[in-house]
Structure formats: C-alpha cells, structure tokens
C-alpha cells in the first residue's frame, strides 16, 4: 500500500513536515515549548488520496488521533463522543451530558487532558468537512481554534472536496493552513493501479493490463476507487485467452484485441451501475450462450398505473406545462378561434418545456381532470387519495408546505416521454392539448 505514498511524494513531504514538527519537540523534552499549528485544511477531488495518506502517516508515526466522518455525525454529540472516546477512552465519553453543547465538550476535554497531558500533538481528522457548514454556526470556527479553547496540543485536520473559500463563515474565523491534493495524473494512476497485482501473474503482465484499462476508461473516469473496481472485475476476462493457452503473456496486441470490446461494454453498463458487478460476472460467464439477457436498470421504465391515476397524471402534466390562461382554449367547447400569436406574451415565447414544470393549485388539476376524462367521475375520496399516492410515488411533487391544507400546490415531475407513453395507453392525444406544440 505504500504505492500511494510513494507516488505523492511532494504532498507527503509537506504533510510530514507539518506533523513531525510536533513529534520532534516532544521527543526532545517532556513538555513541548510550542504547540503545532491549530488547524489544517486539506482539499482535493474524490479519491485523490487525502484520507488514505493521512491515515497511513498517522499510523506509521504512531501519533494519537481521532478520525471522524462528518456524514455519520448526525448530531454534534456523536462527534464529541467519538473524539473523547478515541483520546481518553470510554469513561470520558460517558461524562458527556445528554445533548451536550460545545462548552460541555471543551470542559470535559480540558479536564481529561489535564489528567493525561499530551506527549505528542493530538490530531482530530474530520472527513467530509463540508457538512460542518450545515451544522451549528459556532462549530466550525470553534474547531478551527480548538487548541486555544482546550489549551492542549491538538490539531484539527479538515478533509474536504471543496475549496476553503466556500467554507469561510461571514463572521470571519481563524485561517487554517491550506494544503491541496491535486488529481492523479495518468502515469500516477497507472503506477498505483499496477501495485495491487494478482499474485499469480507477473508484474509486467498486470501493468500491461492496467495500461489497456486506462486507455479505455481514463477519458471518462479518473476515480481511483472506481478504476480499481473495474480492474478487478475485468481481469478474469483478460486472462481468459491465457488460460486457454492461445496467447502468451507477452503478446499484448492479441490480448488487447480480446479485451477491448468487453471494456467498452463495461463502460456502458457496470460503470453506470446499470448492471451490478455480480450480474456482470455472471454475464461474462455465460456470454457465449446468450447475449443481452440481463437488462439494465434504466431499461425498466414502464410503470403500470390505475386508470384514473393516468388521467390525473396527464391533467397534472397539462397544468404544469400550459399557461393557465390557455385552459379556456383547450377545455371549453366553444372557445372560438384564438390564434397562438394573439396570446403570446413576451416571456411565453420560450418553450414551456424548456422552462420546466410550473406549480398549479389543486382546483386547476381537478378541473382539467374532469374535462379530460371521458366518463363522468364522481369526486370520491379515492380520487383524492390517488393524488397523494402519486406524490409518494414522486410522479407529482407537492410545492407548497405539507402543513398547508387549504389550497395545496403541485408540480408534475414526469418527463415528456413518460407522459406520452401513459397517454397512449388511454388513447389520449396529449400533444393536441399542449400549448407548446400548437
């Protein structure tokens, strides 16, 4: 696993400098003269090695640290608890009161750290730190200068995918040290991926494979995790001709010709998770027998709906994409001849479909529904309950707040293709009723 570390020498070097500052001092004397820098902010794209490098370093250097993922911390209490737990053990964490505040945390931390003073800098690593912005307003500034608050040699390291500028609160705060992890280059990726080779094959063979893989996927995906995943999935196929004895390990060209179509196919299916990796493996095994037996996720778009639900959905679509003024033209029998140009307003010249669905009140939906549906329908409770079940199916969305029961507003959330399919099943020509297609 040192592959990562060796590839990113520059970044690691910087980090080492920062981290070891704390180490050296504590080695020299029992009490550090000066604390390390209070907070560090590390940013870079997904899987550019931020947490991995950091974790490896902290482990190798045997520094006391607590790693917390901010996604997991539903409440701040969880965050405090985890930090205390990994620094001072169980009993410290249990000292926290129910729904603790920041000052509770600071109090307990000070108390504990005075009992067991730090020999080395303690590190708190916060993964996915961008979520901290959504929590209490005082949390982020306080974490940035936690060192001052608890009077202990502690450094908070924030890991994030977004730049620091987006973090800075309005009120201003302590500026952390910024450290950027750039994306891996192609060469670096190649180097890292080649590290985890299959033990039963030679180094050269595997790196040749990685080379081919990157040739196909590099243009669409630079995510190391994903690439590793794909490499693992497709390797068995790559080795197939070798196992059959058709090709030698060195005959790269033939191997390439064998694997390339598979990788292309993988790009369309597995990479988009249309087909799960398990299914992909099965597909590879039975490839020769039948093709395309497994359909992707998005192939199943057909939705069966009750009869009136279909019309409700159609009515909702019409209400969302037609301006309310034009209802008269579409749904009143003797509307006379109104030309489109007559009621074009300036802002309506753009297609309503480009602007997206507009909210409409329940009354309008029902009015259109009654005029669209061919038979006479009594306004029964089940019609209304169908509207709400359409909302739970996310075919409609409720725009107004759920508490407002007076005149709820909805939006239609289905696509043109979908509604065309629906209206075809009930013999309704929706195009005729759409203002955009007049």
């Amino acid at each position: 696993m040192n592959g990562y570390v060796s590839v990113m020498r520059v970044r690691v070097f910087e980090l080492m400098m920062l981290l070891s500052a704390g180490v050296e001092e504590t080695d020299a004397q029992s009490k550090p003269h000066q604390y390390s820098y209070p907070s560090i902010f590390i940013y870079g794209h997904q899987s550019s090695g931020k947490s991995h490098v950091l974790n490896v370093l902290l482990k190798e250097l045997e520094l006391p640290h607590a790693t917390v993922s901010c996604v997991e911390c539903v409440s701040v209490a969880l965050l405090f608890e985890q930090v205390l737990l990994s620094f001072f053990g169980c009993h410290a964490a249990s000292l926290l009161p129910r729904s603790p505040s920041l000052s509770d945390f600071v109090r307990i931390y000070r108390q504990q750290s005075s009992q067991s003073p730090a020999k080395q800098t303690r590190y708190i690593v916060m993964e996915k730190a961008e979520l901290l912005r959504d929590s209490d307003a005082n949390l982020l500034p306080a974490l940035l200068r936690l060192q001052e608050l608890v009077e202990d040699n502690v450094t908070v390291i924030l890991l994030s995918e977004i730049v620091w500028d987006r973090f800075r609160p309005n009120t201003g705060c302590f500026e952390p040290l910024l450290l950027h992890f750039p994306d891996y280059s192609k060469g670096e990726l190649q180097h890292i991926l080649a590290q985890d080779r299959n033990p039963s094959y030679s180094d050269e063979f595997y790196s040749a494979y990685i080379n081919i893989l990157l040739g196909v996927f590099y243009s669409v995906c630079r995510d190391l995790r994903e690439l590793r995943h794909l490499a693992a999935l497709n390797f068995s196929k790559f080795c197939e001709p070798l196992a059959e004895g058709k090709v030698k390990e060195t005959d790269t060209h033939k191997l390439w010709r064998n694997i390339e179509p598979h990788l292309k196919k993988a790009m369309q299916t597995v990479y988009l998770r249309e087909v799960s990796s398990l299914q992909w493996e099965q597909m590879q095994q039975m490839e020769e027998k039948e093709n395309g037996a497994v359909r992707g996720l998005s192939a199943h778009t057909h939705v069966e709906l009750p009869y009136y639900s279909k019309f409700l959905l159609i009515a909702a679509y019409l209400a969302s994409f037609n301006p309310a003024r034009t209802d008269k033209r579409f749904f009143v029998k003797h509307h006379g001849k109104i030309k489109k140009t007559n009621f074009l307003k300036k802002n309506e010249k753009t297609s309503n479909h480009l602007l997206g669905p507009k909210p409409f009140p329940l009354d309008r939906l029902l009015a259109i529904f009654y005029s669209v549906v061919d038979s006479r329908v009594a306004p029964t409770a089940s019609i209304f309950s169908q509207i709400s079940s359409l909302v739970t199916l996310q075919l409609l969305t409720q725009v107004s707040h759920g508490d407002q029961i007076d005149a709820p507003k909805y939006k239609c959330a289905v696509s043109m293709d979908f509604i065309c399919g629906i209206s075809r099943t009930v013999n309704f020509e929706i195009i005729k009723y759409l203002y955009d297609f007049l």
């Binding site: 693992a232 799960s276 398990l278 778009t301 309950s385 079940s389 075919l395």
Partner: protein
C-alpha cells in the same frame, strides 16, 4: 332536544352505558337483518364461505409470492456466502453493499403483506437480523438510524432470553439517542456473533449448514423507496459503506414505479457503493386475474372498475368482495340456499312459509312460473311441498349451470385471448363480465372473434383446441365429458388430415379461369360486376379444403357449446340465491364521496336527520332546517363574492319565518344578537367545510369557492 339550537347536520345521542352491550359480530349481523329467523344459519354460511375464499386467496398469494421470495432468499444467501470468500478479486473490489431492488408495482396497499412474509422468511431461513423501515417514520437521518437500531436490537430481545441483561443495557443506552450510531450496532453485532461462536461449537459439527451463517447478514428493508428523502438515504448509504468491512449489511429496496428511480435519487458517487440486483414481482393485473379466477361468480363490475380505475390494490378488492358477500347474505334471506349441494337441498326442505312466499316473489321464479302450464302454475302457487320439490330441482339445475359455465368460459377464453386486437378481451375477467351481462353470442365482438377464428392456421387451431380439451378434462359433469369426447374426436380428425397429407390440391387456376371464359362476350359494366361477385362467392364456397371443413365443424361445435352453457345467470331460475347484483350499495360503501354526502346533507337535511318537519318536496330547504343549511342555501344564490350583510338580512328573514312571527310586525326580519350569533356560527362552519373563504378584495365580503350543484 330542540332542533332550533342545533346547527350541525348530525346529532350525537350518547347511549346510556348500561343498555349498551357489546354486540358480537354475529349479533351485528342479525341485527336489522331481513328474515331474522334464519339469520344465524345465514351468518354461519357466510362465514364459512368467506373463510374458504380467504384461505384460497391466501394460498394463492403465497404461491404467487414464493417465486420472487425464493429468488430474494437465494440472493441474500449468495451475498452472505460470497462475503466469506477472500480471493484476490473480491479483495480488490470496491466494497459494495449488496442491494436487491424489488419492483412491486404501484399497488402500494398490498406491499405490506409481501414485506411481512419476506421478512418472516428471511428470519426463518437466513438471518435473525432483519429490520424494515418505512419512509414516514424516517424524516431525518437520525430517525432512520434510530429505527434501524431499534428494530435490529429489539428483535433480539424476543429471540433469546438469556441475553436479557445485556439487551436491557443496550436498550438503556438506546434511550440516550446520543449512542444511536452504527458503531453501537457494530459492537453489538460482534458481541453477538462471538457469543454464538462460543456457544455453538458443540452444535456446529452436527449442522454444517450453519457454518455458512456464522456471520448472518444484516438485512435492512426500505419498504417504500420513492417516499424516502433522497438526502437521508444517500447519507445513510454513505455511512453504511464505511462499516461494510465490519458489518455484513444488505439492503432491499421496495420500489413501486420503476427501477430508474434509484438513479434519480442517488448520485453516482452513492450508487457506486451499491451492488444492485433487480427483482420484478408479478404485475398486479396478473395477480388479480388469478385471484378472480378462483372466486365464484358474483357481479363485480363495480369492484373491478374500482380496482382498475383507482388503486390497483388486491387487498382492497378482496375487502370489496367480502362486503358484497356480507351484504348478499344480509339482505337476501334466500341466501341460505347458497351453499354446498347437499346442505342446500336440506335447507330447501326446511324453508318456512314466508321464505316460500319470497321465492314466489323472485322475478326469475315468476318468469319460470309464467312459462309453465296453467295447472302447474296453480300448483306452484298454492302447494308448498310441490314448490319445494321444484326448488330442489331448480337448485340442482343452477349447480349444473355453474359446473358447465366455468369450463366453457375458460375454453372460450383460451380460444379468443390470442386473437389479434382482442375482440373479447385479453383477460378472462373481461370475458366473464361480458358473459355475465348478456348472451355472449349476440355480441358483435363475439361474431368478429369467431370470424377471426375461422382464419386461424392449422397448427395454431390444433394447439388451442388441445388446451381446451385439457380444461374440459378437469370437469366432472356428464355434459362436459361428452363435449370432451367430441373435441378429442375432432382433434383426431385433424391428425388424420396430417397423415393423409396433400391430397393433390384442386386445380386452382382452372377454377378461377374457367368462369372468366364463360363470361358473355358483350356485357355492360353492371353485369360484369355481378358476374365477378358471383365468381367470388363460388370460389369461396367451392374451395373448401378438408381442413377448412373440419375447422368450421370445430368452430360450430365451440359455438354450440357457448350457446348452451354461457347464458347469463339472469336467465337461470333462482339465480338471486347465488348472485348479488346491487352494485349501487357496494359503490356507496366502497367509493366514499365525502363532498357529495356533505352537499346532500346540506341540501336535504331530512336525509340524515329523519325529522319530518324538514321534509320538503321540491328540494327547497324548509325554514326550520339547521342554520347551516339555510346559510348554504342562501349562498347558492349568490355570485362569486358574497356581501355578508345582505346574507345576514336574508338569513334573519328566513329564520323569523320559522319562528312563526307575524310577517307584518315590526320586529320581523330584524337582526337581534341571537340571530347574529347563529349566523356567524353557521358562516364559520361553512368556511370550515370549504365552501367559502375570506377575501381581501372587499372587506365585508367572502368569496365562494364551490360552483354547481355537485
């Protein structure tokens, strides 16, 4: 109680507690039943029949679900077993959470049953750790985690008792919602599995199967994926993926619409953490078709239309059937006869005088009587024993009719369901409905279907006929058996045709060309046309190959079968015994129309209050009606904006009229405090019901919200 003080549309009289006994179900049934003397037997019959239908239905549902549930179980087993392999490839792979996407269709009310049986099965055969969550209880991530933990740790309390102390501890921890993290779950899980390790070594050798399940997976079922907040779900999956190394987690998504919702809800970064496999459950229409198939004949137009139009829910459909059944037994005293043959015959003998009179009143029986000889008529009308005899015979006939009806129906369905454009419907229920309504052979669609059948190719026809023969084999009655024999004979003939093969085809060209020669040399256009038409006719009639002859014969046979057995039940005497036809009642009970009933109450309060003073002829509200009715009536006469003062004046006038004041006196129509208060109250009630709302356009006006009479 004085009605003048009451302005609401309903009264609540509290029954004195002593009088009121808790009535059993049976008492409820008997209460208000027509012909109370036999109501007990009827109740029993009803319950028996319902139980039978219910068990049938449950069996059926289990059958339908087994397939999908089995595949799901396999999936979970496979996942938990692959987890334990540790070869290079699985080590390399990004750790994905195995996920099953279960597409169930939009009949949401039915899903509960499926999920319940699924989780039970999982618990029995794969893992004790199953938690199912619903969207409505998980608004935020915190709640979701809490629910999952509760379900997982909570189930364990019931499973093994020796761990009570510990679970008590954990539950104590749980009360502090601080500890609701997956970390807790993780600790709990390792502790649990370790324990089973140390406990089982003795047992382990005996059951090698259990070795696979040393680490039973934790299954989390999301019942309604669409309703979940996308954000919550994403976060939850992110968290879970952090723990996947330590916890064998597994998800099952219940999806109502289409699997592409997963892609809509979860961004790539999240969905890449999942290893999704798709399971499609049976569509609900198929489900319904099989359900109906097993029910006996009742008129269910309404029920089916509710099903198709409204909710697609099989469960509510069954509820509807139950209601129809209950209603049938409740309101039709003669339904005692709707049971097994022997019992029915027995019951006939026990019919009392009143019941026999009822039989005579039945329209179908009247028709029957009219057809008889005058002497026989008299006999039937006076002699009770004779009537009983006839009844017995008629009931036997009815049963025979049923026996013939269903096989024939199925035969016809197999023949017609594959025709292009489905003249008689794709599903058997459509055909069933057509047959129930009127004579099917008079139907236009039936004719066209027959025409289409006449154009079938040979092998198709043979396979269809074979299917029919199979259906007929199941029935026991004599008629059907003879029909079967005929059919088989026909099939044999078809086969013979095969063996004889290719009699030299009639010299077709000659037959076509020869008449042309016969044409007179000089003709006018009209004659030519006529000649050509004739030619066409003759060509058609002449050119019947033996196959075609046989085909026509077969179809005639089917046609005769249909004509003799598929007559609608109304044509049968005593059909009222077994058929329930008041669709209006069912509709009223099942298809709630709140607005219509509110309006009915306001328009004619008599309907609900049963007070004679409120009765009025021409739909107008008498001035003695409750205040809200008067106010409602007055507001119907107004436009979009209603002036409150005018309204109050009108109200006062009407109310004064009710109090019997002299119309000429000064105080007549004057607004006093009481009237004012009553008016305000009525108006605010109207606002509460959603008929008017306050408006900002004019200060002393309210806006009307509803229009029209309905």
């Amino acid at each position: 109680m004085s009605t003048s003080s009451v302005s609401k549309g309903c009264f609540v009289f509290k029954p004195s507690a002593k009088k009121k006994k808790t009535l059993s179900l049976e008492d409820h049934f008997i209460h208000g039943c027509e012909g109370a003397d036999e109501s007990k037997t009827r109740f029993k019959l009803c319950q028996d029949l319902w139980d039978q239908i219910k068990t049938d239905n449950e069996l059926l549902q289990d059958e339908l679900n087994t397939k999908i549930l089995d595949s799901l179980l396999d999936f979970t087993r496979k996942c938990s077993s692959t987890r334990q392999h540790s070869d290079w490839a699985s080590h390399m792979r990004a750790s994905e959470i195995p996920t099953a996407a279960l597409v169930l269709g939009v009949n949401v009310p039915d899903h509960d049953m499926t999920f319940q049986s699924l989780s039970e099965l999982l618990r029995q055969s794969v893992t004790p750790h199953v938690a199912s969550v619903q969207a409505k209880e998980c608004r935020a991530l915190k709640h979701l985690i809490k629910r999952v933990l509760e379900r997982l740790l909570g189930t364990d309390v019931t499973v093994d008792d020796d761990e009570e102390e510990e679970t008590a501890q954990t539950s104590a921890l749980l009360h502090k919602s601080v500890h609701c993290s997956l970390n807790t779950l993780c600790d709990w899980y390792t502790m649990n599995t370790k324990k089973s390790y140390s406990l089982t070594p003795g047992k382990k050798r005996s059951s090698p199967v259990k070795d696979d399940l040393q680490q039973p997976p934790i299954v989390i079922i999301f019942k309604d994926l669409e309703a979940f907040n996308a954000r919550v779900l994403q976060d939850f999956i992110l968290i879970c993926s952090r723990y996947i190394e330590r916890l064998p987690l597994m998800f099952i998504f219940g999806i109502a619409t289409s699997p592409s919702t997963i892609q809509h809800m979860l961004p790539h970064s999240v969905s890449s953490l999942l290893c999704i496999e798709l399971f499609q459950s049976l569509s609900c229409t198929q489900h319904l078709a099989t359900v109906i198939d097993k029910l006996n004949g009742k008129v269910m137009q309404v029920l089916i239309s509710i099903f198709l139009y409204h909710d697609f829910s099989v469960r509510s459909f069954i509820k509807g059937v139950q209601l129809a059944l209950l209603e049938h037994f409740h309101s039709q005293p003669l339904s005692v006869l709707c049971c097994r043959k022997k019992e029915a015959l027995l019951n006939v003998m026990q019919l009392g005088h009143r019941d026999l009179e009822r039989i005579r009143q039945l329209p179908s029986f009247k028709r029957y009587i009219e057809k008889q000889e005058p002497q026989e008529q008299e006999h039937l009308l006076t002699d009770e024993t004779h009537l009983k005899e006839v009844c017995r015979r008629l009931i036997k006939d009815l049963r025979k009719y049923h026996k013939h009806y269903y096989p024939t129906l199925r035969c016809l369905h197999t023949l017609t369901s594959s025709l292009p454009r489905y003249p008689l419907g794709k599903q058997i229920r459509e055909l069933h409905l057509i047959c129930l309504e009127k004579n099917v052979w008079e139907n236009e669609e039936y004719q066209s279907a027959m025409k289409l059948l006449k154009m079938l190719a040979k092998d198709e026809l043979i396979s269809l006929l074979k299917k029919c023969a199979e259906i007929l084999q199941h029935s026991k009655s004599k008629n059907m058996k003879s029909a079967l024999l005929l059919l088989e004979a026909m099939l044999a003939k078809f086969k013979q045709l095969d063996t004889v093969v290719a009699e030299p085809p009639p010299p077709a060209e000659e037959s076509i060309t020869s008449p042309v020669k016969n044409l007179p040399k000089k003709t006018d256009l009209f004659q030519l046309q006529k000649a050509l038409l004739e030619m066409n006719e003759s060509r058609r009639s002449k050119k019947l190959s033996p196959f075609e002859v046989l085909r026509n014969e077969a179809l005639q046979f089917i046609d005769s079968l249909v004509q003799s057995h598929l007559s609608p039940p109304e044509s049968q005497t005593l059909y009222e015994v077994c058929y329930y036809s008041s669709s209006a009642t069912v509709r009223r009970h099942l298809n709630a129309a709140p607005r219509t009933s509110i309006q009915a109450a306001l328009n004619s309060p008599f309907y609900y209050l049963q007070n004679d003073r409120l009765k009025s002829e021409d739909g107008s509200v008498s001035n003695a009606a409750p205040d809200i009715c008067i106010v409602y009536k007055l507001h119907l006469e107004c436009g979009r904006l209603i002036n409150l003062f005018d309204w109050l004046e009108a109200f006062a006038t009407v109310v004064s009229g009710a109090e019997g004041n002299d119309p000429n006196s000064d105080s007549f129509g004057k607004v006093d405090d009481v009237k004012h208060a009553r008016f305000i109250r009525a108006v605010s009630e109207l606002e509460f019901l959603g008929f008017i709302k306050s408006t900002k356009q004019k200060t002393d006006h309210v806006a009307r919200i509803t229009w029209g009479g309905c």
